[in-house]
Every structure is written in C-alpha cells, then in structure tokens.
C-alpha cells in the first residue's frame, strides 16, 4: 500500500500513459487529412481542430493524477507521429515537448491536488499558448496581416479549451463511470476512509 501512495511513476503509469497517447496518435493521423484540407483557405478554420493535438496531456493527467504524466503523454504522442512519418516530421517532437511542459505547468500550479474541468480547460489553453511560441519562430506569425493573426489566435485558444480541455474531462468522467480509472489512479485518503466504515 505504501508504494501506491508514492507519486513516482511506475511501469503501469508509464505504459498506460503511452498507450493513451498512441490512441490519440491514431486519432491525430486520422484527422490529419481534414486538417490539411482546411489549411490552404488561410482563414485558420484548421486552428479550431488544432485543439485535438493538445488532448493527450490534460487527459492523461486527469486519468492518472500524478506529476509528469501530462508531459510524458504529449512527448509520447509526438514521438509516435515522428516514427510514423507524419507530415511536419521532426518538428512535432519539439511541439510535443513545449505543449507538454505548458499543460503540465497548470496541473503543477494546483500542486496536483485539483483535477476539475476548470483546471483541464486551463491546461488545454496553456498548451495552445505553448504552441504559439514555436510558431512565432517557425511561421513568422508577426508578419501576418493583423486581423488574420487575431483570428488564428482566437480559434486556436477556443480549440484548445474545448477539444483539449473540456473534451478530455468529458472522456475521463465517462471512464470513471465505467470503472476504468480505478485501475490506474493512486490510492487516496478517501479510499482508506471507505475501509474504516
């Protein structure tokens, strides 16, 4: 029992996180053609879908509730994209690290005590902000026409909040009902209190 209270990641946490990331990685690959078709319109409608790229981090953190999980999930998902030869190639790895760090930071700010929908939405938004840091260097964002840039930022933040944050909360709530989450979460004080009754 002592071991499961430990916040260090064990093999179960790691394997579950990576597998979750791969499931989302499959979703990424399925969605990629849709995303690529929306891009040349230039109106940044693709940015709304962009949010699904941030989901692995908040979802894994909500699921396993341990430090470091959000980062690991995002990096694993991006590694999978590199190894499957997704478009963008090696750059996905950098996006993964930055987005993972940003969405991890939100959970860390609440000291890994709070896992509500608000925190997960914030985490999705943080990942979206992180992705802009790379885009700033990579895509010369500052040289776009003003209205166009604003559109892109707003769409991506909405996408991050809805698809990355809120949707992962919906999914985890549903998994809680199915009893799957009990397998992977660390034992909490509530669990011991139940035993005492």
């Amino acid at each position: 029992m002592k071991k499961s209270k430990n916040s260090k990641l064990n093999l179960t946490d790691i394997l579950v996180t990576i597998v979750v990331a791969l499931v989302f990685g499959l979703v990424f690959r399925v969605l990629e053609p849709v995303y690529n078709v929306l891009q040349p319109l230039g109106l940044h409608l693709d940015a709304l879908l962009y949010g699904i790229w941030f989901i692995a981090g908040p979802f894994a953190a909500l699921l396993i509730r341990k430090p470091g999980v959000a980062l690991l999930a995002e990096v694993a998902a991006s590694m999978a994209e590199v190894l499957f030869g997704g478009s963008g190639g090696i750059i996905n790895f950098y996006y993964g690290i930055v987005q993972g760090l940003f969405s991890e930071a939100i959970f860390a700010a609440w000291r890994y005590q709070k896992f509500t929908i608000t925190v997960s939405v914030l985490s999705g938004v943080a990942a979206a902000l992180g992705s802009f840091i790379i885009d700033l260097f990579y895509g010369y964002l500052a040289d776009l026409a003003g209205w166009n840039l604003t559109l892109s930022i707003i769409f991506r933040l909405i996408g991050g909040a809805l698809l990355g944050g809120a949707f992962s909360d919906v999914l985890v709530k549903a998994l809680e009902k199915m009893g799957v989450t009990n397998l992977v979460r660390p034992v909490t004080k509530d669990d011991y209190d139940v035993l005492k009754k």
Binding site: S87, G89, I90, V180, L183
Partner: protein, 266 residues
C-alpha cells in the same frame, strides 16, 4: 507490424539510432534560423536527393511520398501566402492580398516544413523500433521502464487498429454512420474514443502488472539481449549530413535563384 521496409541492409540502417535521432533533432535548429530563401531552395533539393538515395522504401513509393509531402507542406504556408504583409502587391481580391514579400515568406515556410518532413522520413524509414529503444536505453540512458513501456505500447498498435475497425463495423451495422450533423459527429467521436481508450487502458494495466512481475522495470545489474554500439557508419553518416548542409549554403552563395536573401526585413 506492417513492414514497409523492403531492404534493411542499407547504410542508414546500420547507424546508431540515438545518434541519428540527435542529428535529426539538431538539424531542426539549423534550419529554424535560416531566413534566406535561396539557402532553403538548395537545401530542399539536396535533401530530396539524399532521401531518394538512402531511404528504405521502394523507388516508386519514395517518389510519390516526396511529391505528396511537398504538396501538403505548401498547404501549411497558405495563410502566409494569401494574407502576408508586404509592400509589393501582386494580386488583390477582397481580403486576399498576395504580396511579393508574403509569397517569399510563405514559400520559405513551406519548404522548411518540407525539409523537416523529409528529415523525419529519412529517420522513420531507416529506423527499426526495437534497436531504436534499445539504443535509447544504452546510449542516452533513458530509464529502462520508459523504453520497455514504449516497446510494449508499440506492440499493441495492431490490436488497437483492429479494434478501431471493429468499432466502425459495429457502428455501420447499427446505422450510426448515416446520421449527419455536428451532434452526430460529436457522439461518434466520443464513442470511438471511449471504447478504444477503455480497452487500451485495461490491456495496458494488465500487461504492465505482468511485466513488473517479470522484473522488466529492474534497473540495477541488468543485461540486454541486443547490444547497440558505435561503428564507422556513424562517421560516414555525420560526414554525409555535414556535406549536405554545407553544400546547401555554398550553392546558395554561388547560384542564388531569387533576390530574397532575408525574408524578414525587406
């Protein structure tokens, strides 16, 4: 696993995977700071040649993959080409304003995406997963439980894609795929995600318990079935990449194709 690799005996398969990975990752930084359109064009040409020479796919397949990637990469520059700021207007129609500067910048971004994709594909097409993760453990000292976790997860991929097909067939039988609209799309996505996630998490947890019972996560005094080391091929690889990069810059000095030597300030 699907075998895309036709011939695993080629030069690039013998390079130390960690070394290949580190070089690919650092090439990213090199081309991130290039703002000269000429250098980008020449680098693109040279990396296409390199990819066609060393990749592990069959000839026709690698040609199509280059072409497709080029088209998709150009899509990613769409916004910059159509709405980029600049003074020399080439074309104007309602909100769309194509300027010379925006076009040059857009093409640069497109080519940059393309180069990163090509480097990624050189890596992906010549690296087998098992040596890659063994090399991560041995050369880069990645903790054993992470590397074996990744390997186990990769072996679950075929099962996941099989499940994906099953879920889709179940939906077709029940007529769910015929429903249209945003609400139906949301329901469908949720159903896909939930079924796949629940199955995968349960399976991963079972596997991990079994692996821990067999001491897969043990760190001290461990031996490896595969020993990944260094060879002269690593030197060849380094020389080849350095030549490619250097020639890209030299050629852009000798034969500049466009007047845009710095796309940021003009």
């Amino acid at each position: 696993m699907v075998t895309l690799w036709t011939n695993t005996d080629r030069l690039f398969f013998k390079i130390n995977p960690s070394f290949k990975f580190l070089i690919s990752v650092s090439l990213f930084v090199v081309y991130l700071v290039v703002h000269n359109l000429n250098s980008m064009i020449w680098a693109t040409v040279l990396f296409i040649v390199l990819f066609l020479l060393v990749n592990g796919f069959s000839g026709r397949f690698s040609f199509w993959i280059v072409l497709l990637t080029l088209i998709v990469s150009m899509f990613s520059a769409g916004a910059m080409i159509l709405f980029g700021q600049g003074t020399h207007v080439l074309f104007h129609w309602y909100l769309i304003e194509i300027t010379e500067e925006g076009l040059a910048r857009g093409i640069l971004i497109g080519l940059r995406t393309f180069i990163f994709s090509i480097i990624g594909m050189i890596m992906a097409s010549t690296t087998l997963p098992v040596p890659f993760f063994y090399s991560l453990m041995q050369q880069l000292k990645v903790p054993v439980r992470y590397a074996y976790g990744c390997l186990a997860a990769f072996r679950m991929l075929p099962m996941m894609s099989e499940e994906f097909v099953h879920v889709r067939q179940a939906m077709v039988v029940r007529g769910m795929t015929r429903k249209k609209g945003v609400r139906a799309l949301y329901d469908r996505t949720k159903r896909y995600a939930l079924t796949m996630l629940a199955q995968s998490i349960r399976r991963a947890q079972r596997t991990a318990v079994a692996m821990e019972a067999k001491r897969f996560s043990m760190t001290e005094t461990r031996t490896y079935y595969y020993e990944i080391g260094w060879s002269r091929y690593d030197l060849y690889f380094l020389a080849l990449i350095l030549c490619t990069v250097a020639f890209g810059f030299l050629l852009s000095n000798w034969m500049p194709l466009t007047p845009f030597t710095n796309v940021i300030d003009n």
